[in-house]
Structure formats: C-alpha cells, structure tokens
C-alpha cells in the first residue's frame, strides 16, 4: 500500500463513495438531525469520533479474536456489541472528563449505536480486507464524508424551511428530493480518473 493509494482511499471515502449520497448508509440520523447547521456539526463530530475508534476496535477484534478461533460468522454480532459498548463507554468517559464536550454531543451519542454507517464501516473494512491503518483511515474519512454531507444538507434545509411546497411534500419528502439533487452532484465525483501505474497493456478506445 503506497501513500498514493492510501490518499486515494481517503479521498474516495469522502466524495466518490460518500456514505450518505452514494452508499445510503446513515440516512436516518441524516434526516433527523440535519435541520440546523450547529446540530449537524455536533452530530458529525460525534459520529467521526465513534467511527474512527470503532474501526480500530472492530478491526483488531476481527483479526486477533474471530479469525484465530475461526468464528468469522459471528462478525455481525461481535461488531454491534463492540459498537454499543463503545458508545456507552465514550458517553461515560466524556461525562467525567470533558463535561463541555459531553454537553454538546451527549444527546447524539445513543443514536449512534443504530447508525448503520458505523456498523457499515466495520463490515466494509472486513469485506475489503483492509489492514489496521487502512481501516482507521477509511473509518475516519468516511465519517468526514458523512459530516460533510450533513453540513451541506443542513444549509440547504435551512432554506427549505422558507419554501411552501404542496402539503403532502412538506417535511421529509421535500428533504428527500433535495438530498436527491445533492446526490446527483455527488455522482459527478465518480467520473474522476483515478489514474494508475505500472504495466497497462490495454486501454479504452
């Protein structure tokens, strides 16, 4: 794994493989807390923190516990338990050590357990056979992409409140349409030529 490949992984985790707009993970909290920019940022920070730590924790449990005992099929159960207890631990730790941070992020922490982005990143790390460094980087940058999407969308939603759509479109449907339009913009990132190196005999005509 070269530095370029690692950078590529990070870059595509934010844009080309954005968790919300391309992979559809974490849409529920996304619709729930993207009403205002400041709450969106707090949620994003909490998710980033948990996802990075969870990536490291699940990666090491998978490689040092599940694989040696040939219990790979228990990965889903193991990961969700790790994530749930991790969230619980972080909540207690924050309450004691950083009360102001806890005040800002506290109410979002329990929501993170059922955020499919967190379990999703853990499962993807295993599926893509990422090593420790890659897992942590992928977790961190995918979460950054999540935060970025929340932030962008919160800005759009604050404007949407001023609109007067047909009654049946009010609220979530209108937000979904707006999300669809942003997703369209994000699909543009897919076309970026990521280049390559080495021995390449064939190319597209």
């Amino acid at each position: 794994m070269t530095i370029t490949e690692l950078l590529l992984l990070c870059f595509s985790a934010i844009l080309a493989e954005n968790f919300i707009f391309v992979k559809f993970m974490g849409v529920c909290p996304f619709l729930g807390v993207s009403g205002r920019i400041d709450t969106a940022l707090s949620m994003g920070m909490a998710v980033t923190f948990v996802m990075t730590v969870a990536s490291a924790a699940t990666c090491s449990v998978y490689n040092f516990v599940l694989v040696p005992f040939e219990l790979e099929y228990l990965e889903t159960i193991a990961f969700i338990i790790i994530i749930a207890s991790l969230v619980q631990l972080i909540e207690m730790f924050m309450k004691k050590a950083f009360p102001p941070l806890y005040k800002a992020l506290g109410i979002y922490l329990p929501l993170i357990t059922t955020n499919c982005a967190v379990l999703g990143v853990a499962l993807l790390n295993v599926q893509n056979e990422y090593n420790m460094l890659q897992s942590v980087m992928y977790g961190f940058f995918a979460a950054l992409g999540f935060t970025f999407a929340l932030f962008v969308f919160a800005g759009v939603r604050q404007r949407l409140e001023l609109a007067s759509p047909p009654k049946s479109f009010e609220g979530v449907p209108l937000s979904l349409v707006a999300a669809g339009l942003i997703a369209m913009a994000f699909s543009g990132f897919q076309g970026i030529n990521l280049g390559g190196s080495g021995f390449f005999p064939f190319s597209l005509s």
């Binding site: 099929y73 159960i77 005999p201 190319s203 005509s205």
Partner: protein, 191 residues
C-alpha cells in the same frame, strides 16, 4: 445504571449472559448446517465460469501462491485442457467499480492469449448501465488479445466509463500476473 439498582446488577449480567449464550448456540447451529453448503457454492460457481471460458475443462489447480502477489489479483488457476494440449490459465481479479468490486475471471491460453473473460460479480454496478459490462459485446473485445499487446484498444460501454475501466484494470492486472507465470519473475527494477 443508577446507584439504587446495584443489587440487580448481578441478575442483569446473568440474564444477559444467558440470552447471549442461547443466541450464540443458535447461530453456531445454523453455521454448522450452512458452512459446507456455502463452501460448495464457491467451488461450483468457479467450475461453471471456467467451463464458460474453456469448454469441457473441469480440472484445475490453485497456483496463486507460486508467484508474488499482484494488486487486483485474487487467485490464479491452472486449467487442464480438455483436448489434451498444454495447460491454460484463469486469473480471478477484483477491482473497484462504480458501487463496489467488479470481479472477473480472465482465461489465458498457454501462450498468453486471452481466451475469454467472464464476470463473476458486477452486482454493485448500476443496472442497465454499468452492468452492461457483463454483456458479450464488451467482453468479446478482449478475446484474442495477448498479455503483451501493449497499446491495444478495447471498446468501452457507452455511459459506463467507471465500470468499463474497472473491468479493464482487472484484465490488465490479470496480464501482469500471467506475465509472472509465463516468463518467471524478474528482479524489481525501479524506474
């Protein structure tokens, strides 16, 4: 969680443990039933795909470990020819496509000519667009090219550049691997 419920902590822990134990047994039971079936599927689908490329060929050996790892290459198989000629090769590749991995099986004749390409998995590609890379029209473009035909061009699928490129880089990785097999490995020369 509260102080006044401390007496219940033991009870909570035990009951949680019992529930977890029960669930673990259930999952272990299901796993013991399904594991052999799942393992069989892998071998069978590989056999089918190899037969797609080399009609009649059934015997193959995994020779992945004989050469150094090539990025994008999952496995290399030596396929016994059905007509009794020299052995052919199949390379299983996995490259990043539009929504996930695109997995190919690239078949090479003994002299390194591409005998055929089969798509093992392109399920995360967009239906109707990216999934067109599974059509014959695109895959046949690779047929007859040799692993060292530098500069050869292949027609991509219109509107599915990312998926086409994924398939292309899969075939290219397979070429790298087959180069190692046929010509032996050379010392890494830094360019």
């Amino acid at each position: 969680m509260q102080e006044n419920k401390k007496g219940n902590v033991g009870f909570s822990a035990v009951s949680l443990l019992l529930i977890s134990g029960f669930i673990a047994c259930l999952v272990a039971l299901v796993n013991s039933i399904t594991a052999p079936v799942i393992a069989e599927h892998g071998v069978e689908s590989l056999k089918e795909n190899i037969a797609l490329i080399f009609a009649g060929s059934e015997d193959f050996d995994d020779i992945t470990g004989t050469v150094t790892e090539t990025s994008g290459v999952e496995a290399i198989y030596k396929v016994k020819s059905a007509t009794g000629g020299e052995d052919n090769y199949c390379v299983h590749t996995s490259t990043a496509g539009y929504g996930g991995a695109v997995e190919l099986l690239v078949g090479f004749n003994c002299d390194g000519q591409i005998a055929g390409v089969a798509v093992l998995s392109a399920d995360s590609e967009t239906p109707g667009v990216g999934q067109k890379i599974t059509e014959k029209q695109f895959l046949n473009g690779f047929k007859g090219l040799s692993y060292n035909d530098e500069g050869a061009k292949v027609d991509g699928v219109t509107g599915a550049t990312v998926s086409s490129k994924a398939a292309l880089s899969g075939v290219n990785s397979a070429c790298v691997a087959i180069d190692k097999i046929l010509n032996g490995e050379e010392e890494e020369v830094s360019a």
